[in-house]
Amino acid sequence: MRKNDDIGAEGKKESLRKRIRWDYATLFLIAPLFLVMVITLPEKGAQARHVAWEYFRRWP
């Protein structure tokens, strides 16, 4: 009985909003978008790639 009570109190499933790692979710959305944009628009893409790389290099 006590065990069931514990499950009721602590085993409650957290909402999807709380379970999602938003930082990873954002990265997994943006990275393919970035890739597609860079490939489909090579001229502007090269600039975007260069800027992103420079920022990455400067980040300690």
Binding site: R21, D23, Y24, T26, L27, I30, A31, L33, F34, M37, V38, L41, K44, G45, A46, Q47, A48, R49, V51, A52, Y55, F56, R58, W59, P60
Partner: protein
């Protein structure tokens, strides 16, 4: 050099410090990478004309409002925010709007409002954020007047 000194002095504490640093690095890595890609997309694909129109020198109150809103809503580490602000300035953004963006970014945090409310109370969190927002806009206006 300092790390070596620390290892010589106390290996256990140094290991603990490195663990903390590594955890912090890993925790921030996905957000920082995402922001870097967004910055790349903005600089590469958004024409400078659009930036100048939205938050340029002549955008006035509208530019400050847009920049303040973005700064308040976004969560960007300052280490990325400053170079981003530089890029925006190079693309034609105004000093007033750029100051509004940076100041709201550092002083106002809508993303963390629920956490702030939970830890410090509703009244405190809302008053602090609202007053910070007003102060940030005022600072931006003064910076705009001084710098141009």
């Amino acid at each position: 050099m300092l790390l070596l000194l620390s290892v010589v002095k106390d290996q256990r504490k140094t290991a603990a410090a490195l663990r903390v640093a590594y955890k912090g690095f890993v925790r921030f890595l996905p957000s920082v990478l995402a922001i870097i890609l967004v910055v790349g997309l903005i600089v590469g694909f958004v024409p400078p004309k659009v930036i100048a129109q939205a938050i340029g020198k002549n955008s006035g109150a509208q530019g400050v409002a847009i920049a303040s809103f973005l700064g308040a809503v976004l969560f960007i580490p300052v280490i990325i925010a400053f170079p981003l602000a530089r890029s925006l300035l190079d693309m034609g953004a105004g000093y007033m709007a750029t100051a509004a963006f940076i100041t709201t970014l550092t002083m106002v945090g809508f993303v963390f409002l629920p956490l702030e409310i939970k830890e410090l109370g509703k009244k405190f969190a809302i008053a602090r954020n609202a007053l910070s927002f007003v102060a940030a806009v005022a600072i931006a206006v003064v910076v705009g007047v001084i710098v141009g």
